[in-house]
């Protein structure tokens, strides 16, 4: 059973909250939410159907879309959503706990937010003298 409050304010309680993975590792921030109609049939002339939260979005693509660069953001998200790439969305069913941080049932290495960390490790930290074999 997951721990979720009954009422939330999306901007205040979800956006920019810290993501924590299943092992307790920091995994970036929530950058956006995917909303979709709940499936209620409408005839197209009345009020819009209710919206439900389908997934949380994170990573460069979601952030660029949120900042207004939809084309670049979509491209980055599609790149991440390739089966062999990292995940840029997680369905709400994979959110284990919502509180001061958002705990998800995924490993931080599998999330799109890990890209920057990996890039810095490969291109910066790895070139610093003494950064490898620290225990030897």
């Amino acid at each position: 059973m997951t721990a979720r409050p009954h009422v939330l304010y999306a901007g205040l309680h979800l956006l920019d909250r810290q993501l924590v993975d299943a092992d307790g590792m920091l995994a970036g921030k929530v950058d956006d939410l995917e909303l979709e109609p709940d499936g209620t049939e409408t005839d197209g002339t009345g009020p819009p159907p209710p919206l439900i939260v389908r997934s949380i979005c994170f990573g460069h693509g979601a952030l660029w879309r949120r900042l207004g660069s939809g084309r670049l953001g979509s491209w980055l998200e599609q790149r991440h959503d390739h089966p062999r790439e990292r995940i840029a969305h997680l369905p709400l069913s994979r959110v284990d706990r919502i509180g001061p941080s958002i705990v998800v049932t995924a490993r931080h290495e599998d999330l799109a937010t890990y890209d920057t960390e990996q890039w810095v490790r490969d291109h910066v930290t790895a070139h610093i003298k003494g950064s490898t074999h620290a225990t030897e």
Binding site: G11, P47, P50, I52, V53, S93
Partner: protein, 114 residues
Amino acid sequence: MRLSELLHRSVVDADGGESFGVVVDVRLVLDGPTDSAGEPTYRVDGLVVGRRAAVARLGLLGRDVHGPALLVRPARWFGGHRDYVPWTAVQSYDGDIVRITGRPVDLPVTTTPP
């Protein structure tokens, strides 16, 4: 659609003649259809409407600040007035505008934040 596409949209009446502010936040209630894990999803219950979106993100929701006394007055002043539009009153959300029927109501009493 994305939550960010809903935030900051102008909220106007059905005729577009009266502006009530912009969407500063979205209230979610955990009573939507069940997901693949059999648990309820969050449903968009309504829109928080105000003039100062950035302040709302800081948690300064005006009337919800009850203390300490030193902070109450500045928080209510900075937070400005907040109204609420139940989703059932939303007529359409095209472009950058949300059209509603009727007028915004008082913000529902919030539960303890997470």
